[in-house]
């Protein structure tokens, strides 16, 4: 029975119990203005605007308070479908983070066998079957664009799901909170321990807890550097004291940040440091899913006993504060959507459990869009939450995101693994030889992007009478084609001399580079042959 009292739900937002001041309603120019919080059920643009329309509010001065002490969050253990999903996401993301560098991927004898490797020293990025060279950095840019669009997509579909489940800050905070629970006990025990004077028992517990913190933090920093070098080798070098100083510095910094941000800063990062909550508030609208408290159903709050004696006067919320107790950022979701809410949905689990115990329908706190909240408050039919996913904006984001991904995969699939750049000698532009012929010199850069040495053929296209030789053949070996072995995964610079008989005109021609293997990859680069004689 979601709408036991439609008349109450559709009326002005209910007053909070225990609020000492009357709602301040000022009538100005025929408009009633109020300072009352706006229910999510009536969250229409006008409501928010009217609330802040200029009028004379009651004057009141608070003592100047520049800084506020953080109230420590001791979130309570809870179980439910969202908690289990959070466990699952945590397991998967941590497994990916810690495990990925250890996956091996055979690339033959000339390339590293680590599946994911950012080889800064040699300027290569390996990701399973893909190898990116520095000049192909646009693939990485594409990946970053996809990551950004992916966030837009997720936000438009399911609100701040990234914040609630997958963000590293959330995952590590969750991990550290489990450590707290493991060492110090659940919420009440932790509050008690915090208040207790520092004795040997507390000291021991703290030392134990911080040791676990440090181990996790060190492990996290240590896993990071594994992405930048061969993991087994690096581990050995690291403990032998032979790794690069950058490795030790990186591990130290990341250990420190993980220890601080995960162990102590926690929700402060989300509320004060992270820009994403601010960006997301701009990206959400009344059709975005968010975790919301259905105040028209819950208010006014009253205990089970009170509700039994006067069932008409009280809503479903029994003010048990379980939703506050389990919240990892320590907010009260009943105050409405707010920047501190990371939509982890643990309060839904907690509230559903309480509702089941007292025999009231689940979903007093639930995933819902503001549109649906309004409809539900008015007693209209609502759509199931999953249908909120299918809306034009989400679909458009998905199509853009998907097509970028598809285009990148396509481009990666058809890209050429050879390359040729030609730099002509400009000083002097040409050389007259003793037999009267004209020679031009070029520096060719042959690029072999395969992880094996390849024989490549350099051929002249155009300039029918010209022949060429390269630094290793000498003029005796001058021909229309030259063959050169390019080492695996490297660029080879070759000096090429093109010689044409007397009387040749200045002309455009090109070098063609062809791999002499089954791929027969080929690339052509334009060049110019200068002679003293300029053709018409």
């Amino acid at each position: 029975m979601p709408n036991r009292d439609p008349s109450r739900a559709s009326s002005a937002p209910p007053r909070r119990e225990g609020e000492d001041s009357e709602p301040t309603v000022v009538v100005e120019g025929g408009l009633a203005k109020t300072n009352e919080p706006v229910s999510s059920a009536v969250a229409e643009p006008e409501a928010a605007t009217r609330r802040h329309e200029p009028h004379e509010p009651p004057r009141q001065h608070l003592p100047a308070k520049l800084f506020e002490k953080r109230t420590k969050v001791h979130n309570k253990r809870v179980d439910g479908p969202f908690r289990r999903f959070k466990w699952f996401v945590m397991f998967v993301t941590l497994a990916i983070y810690y495990g990925t560098p250890w996956i091996r991927w055979d690339r033959g004898p000339y390339a590293p066998d680590q599946a994911v490797l950012i080889d800064l020293a040699n300027r290569r990025f390996y990701m399973f079957g893909i190898e990116i060279w520095p000049h192909e950095f646009y693939y990485v840019a594409g990946l970053l664009i996809m990551a950004a669009l992916g966030l837009f997509l997720v936000t438009s579909a399911v609100g701040r799901a990234w914040c609630g489940y997958a963000c590293p800050q959330t995952v590590w905070t969750d991990l550290f909170q489990h450590v707290d629970r493991f060492v110090d006990g659940d919420r009440n025990a932790r509050i008690k321990l915090d208040a207790a004077p520092l004795g040997p028992k507390k000291l021991g517990k703290r030392a134990f807890k911080y040791t676990i913190y440090l181990i996790i933090a060190f492990w996290t920093g240590g896993a990071w550097i594994m992405y930048f070098a061969d993991a087994p080798t690096l581990v050995r070098d690291f403990w032998a004291g032979e790794a690069a100083s950058a490795a030790y510095i990186t591990v130290a910094i990341l250990t420190l940040t993980t220890f601080t941000l995960g162990g102590f800063m926690r929700e402060q990062v989300c509320i004060y440091m992270c820009p994403w909550p601010r960006i997301q508030t701009a990206m959400m609208d009344e059709k975005s899913l968010l975790v919301t408290y259905k105040d028209w159903r819950g208010e006014p709050r009253g205990s089970v006993k009170k509700a039994k004696s006067e069932p008409e006067k009280f809503g479903d919320c029994i003010d048990c504060l379980q939703c506050v107790a389990v919240c990892p950022t320590g907010i009260d979701i009943r105050e409405g959507p707010q920047v501190g809410c990371i939509t982890c949905a643990l309060c839904i689990d907690a509230c559903d459990k309480v509702m089941a115990e007292i025999g009231r329908p689940r979903g007093l706190i639930d995933y819902a869009t503001l549109d649906d909240c309004k409809k539900e408050a008015n007693g209209e039919a609502t759509r199931p939450p999953w249908k909120a996913l299918l809306r034009p904006r989400t679909v458009a984001y998905f199509l853009i995101w998907g097509s970028i991904g598809f285009a990148m995969l396509f481009a990666l699939g058809v890209r050429s693994h050879v390359g040729l750049s030609v730099t002509p000698d400009r000083n002097p532009p040409y050389i007259l030889m003793s037999d009267g012929s004209v020679r031009n010199s070029y520096t060719l850069k042959l690029r072999n992007m395969e992880s094996r040495p390849r024989d490549m053929e350099i051929a002249l296209q155009g300039l029918p009478d010209a022949v060429m030789w390269i630094d290793t053949t000498g003029r005796d070996g001058a021909a229309r084609k030259q063959i050169k072995t390019v080492p695996a995964d490297q660029v080879l610079a070759v000096r090429a001399y093109v010689i044409a008989p007397p009387g040749t005109d200045t002309d455009d021609f090109s070098f063609r580079l062809t791999s002499r293997d089954e791929q027969k990859e080929s690339v052509e680069t334009k060049a110019r042959f200068d002679t003293p004689k300029v053709g018409e």
Partner: protein, 303 residues
């Protein structure tokens, strides 16, 4: 006008300003934010103690660590120098004629030679080693060599110079001036004959005879030149001092003869080796042939 009030939903004071109905909450900063301020102050103090910080009249305070960007540069330079010393030592041990076979050493020698060339040689031969016809500096990119174009001959030329005064082993020879020796008709005939060697002038008996009598001793019977004497080839397309009738006449009557300083007392042998490798690599370098092992020439002493 400051118009502070308590915002209902949040219970927080506003900053007291209002723009078209938009007000700003005066939310207190978290306490730890203050710690970051103290932390930066501590960091600043530590930094000032450890690193150069306070500017004084001619320099800054030095800092306990004694770090300076100049010192850092000197350290990096010394690492580079160390590498260069190793390379030069290795280079000094390789006989020059074996150098092109060692591709790694050769590449480094060419790179070193290129920068030495820009400092010591480009003034005459040009930065691209193309020389200058008007000034008579030979082009080093082509395949025409007055004194030999294998790597060892180039090194000999660099070490001892050409017509360098006071150098015993310098490459020296002289083209005698023929001013007043030939009749005008005879002169014109020999100019035509010389041009005909490369297929440009008209062949004539008088010219051929005169050439045979006066020039072929050094330049060869068909004008093939003589590298031992530095006598240029006359039957090719390259003319150091120009190929017009006028320029040829001048060269016969009042010959110009190039000079090159010897570099043995100005550059160390390794730099000369690198320069040789660079010049040899420009595209006209010739294979070193064992029979020409001693490029030292036996010529008459400079008069």
């Amino acid at each position: 006008m400051v118009n502070k009030r308590i915002d209902g939903p949040t219970g927080t004071e506003t900053v007291g300003h209002e723009w078209d109905g938009i007000e700003e909450l005066d939310t207190p900063m978290p306490r730890w934010w203050l710690w970051t301020l103290y932390l930066t102050i501590v960091w600043g103090i530590v930094y000032v103690i450890l690193y150069p910080a306070w500017p004084l009249v001619d320099k800054a305070t030095e800092g306990v660590l004694g770090w300076s960007s100049r010192g850092e540069l000197a350290k990096e330079m010394s690492v580079v120098d160390q590498g260069r010393v190793t390379m030069r030592e290795e280079l000094s041990r390789i006989p020059i004629e074996r150098l092109p076979e060692n591709s790694k050493m050769f590449t480094q020698a060419v790179a070193g030679g290129r920068s030495a060339f820009q400092v010591h040689c480009s003034q005459c031969h040009g930065s691209g080693a193309a020389g200058s016809q008007t000034l008579g500096y030979p082009n080093l990119n082509d395949d025409d060599w007055l004194w030999g174009g294998d790597i060892k001959a180039i090194e000999y030329t660099l070490t001892n110079g050409i017509r360098a005064p006071g150098v015993e082993k310098t490459r020296a020879s002289i083209m005698p001036p023929f001013d007043g020796v030939f009749e005008p008709v005879q002169l014109e005939a020999v100019v035509n004959h010389v041009l005909s060697l490369s297929g440009r002038g008209s062949r004539n008996a008088l010219g051929a005879q005169t050439f045979q009598d006066n020039c072929s001793v050094c330049h060869g019977t068909v004008g093939e030149g003589n590298r031992d004497l530095g006598a240029p080839r006359l039957n090719d397309a390259i003319w150091l001092y120009g190929s017009s009738h006028e320029q040829l006449r001048n060269q016969i009557l009042k010959p110009k003869m190039g000079r090159m300083p010897h570099w043995s007392d100005r550059l160390d042998p390794v730099t000369i080796k690198m320069l040789s490798a660079y010049v040899w690599s420009l595209g006209g370098g010739e294979e070193f042939v064992e029979v020409a092992a001693d490029p030292a020439v036996k010529v008459d002493a400079e008069p």
